[in-house]
């Protein structure tokens, strides 16, 4: 139990998707103009992550990895290795989950659906999400671990995007040089935020 809590804290703060791995940057930069929209996208990403990482774990464990199919086909399947299908299978799971989220949001909150625009379907190619599934495989996690990992990575990403959205809302009062307006200044802020997040690097849990 304590290990799961540690894993959660670690993937929210120490190995933050945005500030430690720079994953999921495109939607992080594009949808961080308002806190409420950012919150909506962050929740959507968290939801997708929480579902897809464990589902992908099941896929990996029972279909994709070497010898995984032996529960179905017996001993002769021990040599079947479908790992080369990993990326495409993971993406398929993610894309269908995103489709589901899209339908839910359109039904529940049309306003949020409108403000997220193209970036909602684009969650499907958000590298933070595929990245989490890949990390899950690479780090040889169990089912419980992968569920916690998916959820807390999402929370970490959510924290990052709402923090920068709040900063960008405050930036309305500043006088950024023309050449730096928009993405330029956002990149600078992200760098400075990354420096602040360095405070957690090195904590061994």
């Amino acid at each position: 139990m304590l290990e799961l809590v540690n894993l959660g804290i670690k993937s929210i703060f120490i190995e933050n998707m945005v500030f430690a791995y720079f994953l999921g940057m495109c939607s992080y930069l594009a949808v961080s103009k308002k806190v409420d929209t950012a919150m909506g996208l962050g929740l959507a990403v968290t939801f997708v992550l929480t579902i897809t990482v464990p589902v992908n774990w099941l896929l990996q464990e029972y279909v994709l990895r070497e010898g995984a199919l032996s529960w179905l086909l017996g001993a002769q399947a021990a040599e079947i290795d479908l790992t080369f299908l990993q990326a495409i299978m993971f993406i398929a799971v993610i894309a269908s989950m995103v489709q589901l989220v899209e339908m839910i949001i359109e039904k529940v909150s049309p306003a949020l659906y409108g403000s997220l625009g193209i970036f909602l379907p684009l969650i499907a190619v958000n590298c933070a999400i595929l990245g989490s599934s890949m990390f899950m495989v690479q780090r040889e996690m169990g089912l419980g671990e992968s569920a916690v990992y998916g959820f807390s990575s999402g929370i970490g990403w959510l924290l990052a995007i709402i923090a920068i959205a709040a900063i960008r809302e405050r930036l309305k009062y500043s006088d950024v040089p023309d050449a730096m307006k928009g993405l330029g200044i956002t990149m600078v802020i992200t760098g400075l935020m990354g420096m602040a997040f360095m405070s957690f690097m090195g904590i061994a849990l």
Binding site: V35, L171, P177, L192, A196, G202
Partner: protein, 398 residues
Amino acid sequence: MKFLREKLDNIKPDFEKGGKFEKFHYLFEAVDTILYVPKEVTGSKGVQVKDANDLKRLMMTVVIALVPALLFGMYNVGYQHYAATGVTDASFGDMFIYGAIQVLPIVLVAYAVGGMVEGTFSVLRKHPLAEGFLVTGMLVPLCIPASIPLWQVAVAMIFAVVLGVEVFGGVGTNVLNVALTARAFLYFAYPTDISGNVWTSGIEGANLVEGFTGATPLAIANATPAGESVVATLEASSYGGINFGFMDMFLGFIPGSIGETSTLAILLGAILLIATGVASWRIMVGVFGGAYLTGLLLNALAVNAYMGMPAHYHLVIGGLAFGAVFMATDPVTAAHTTVGKWVYGILIGVLTVIIRVFNPAYPEGIMLAILLMNVFAPLIDHYVVESNKKMRLKRATV
């Protein structure tokens, strides 16, 4: 002094619109308003301001509040130097002069470089010369060790003023505390010059006496072997007649960054800041309270020696007091709402102790804790404002 005023008035037209030095208008204005109170007054109709307090006076108050820490820092640099080199008969004057020779160049470099960068930007971007660098130029030298190479001070000032402030449009618009940005830049770019055995200046070759470790109390506390008490280890590890007892650390006779060692001198500054209303007492109380309570909690859980360090030690050791009083209270980067200030302050205190105790990579946590909360301050404010709105809407519809 009358001729100065006349001289300024004489050349003033050159700097006005259409004059030959029109470009340098804001530089002229900065000099003028530093020397004399501006003459412009509000007419009989319109909003009247009852106090002449402005950004310049606000900043100068902070600088004055920093003076005790600066003076004590100079003295302590000399004190540490003579203690480490084994000279026992150095007088107060010797120590102070040695310290001043070490510290003043750093302050001068910080002011000169900061001023030049600000000046350049104010001319190029045509905004009034901001007074922020008066405080930054003083804070940066006080939070770094006296043995720092001067060029690093210059590089850090340029980085902090350009990427920390000017890129956002000048004082009042920055996201992270400028002085801490400079320190964090140094910390990550030149780690060997700002951590480890650098805290006492002037220790080279032959001067190095046996038994001198140069470790700060924080480093010693961090490295306390299991099963031993931190307090005992601190008190046992003395050099040159310096002990690391609670009182020594409160008064500040310990190695450390120039201005951070003496909690007493910092508290003197804090009294001035609170009395004049320049800094928020809520943030200070929040930081100290958060750190103390986290310390108590860790004491109760104590599984290793460092966690068992008495909670009140956390308040005097390292740079917590300096950060809490002068850095966390920066009115621009702190939370702006009243509730937000409490949340912001307490979280800084909690995070500082957590980073100190649990992160072996950083013996000191206050710098990164403040930077991290600077990042989240706008978010805290956002939610405080939103919940206020909700509360008032509820009241309105009843």
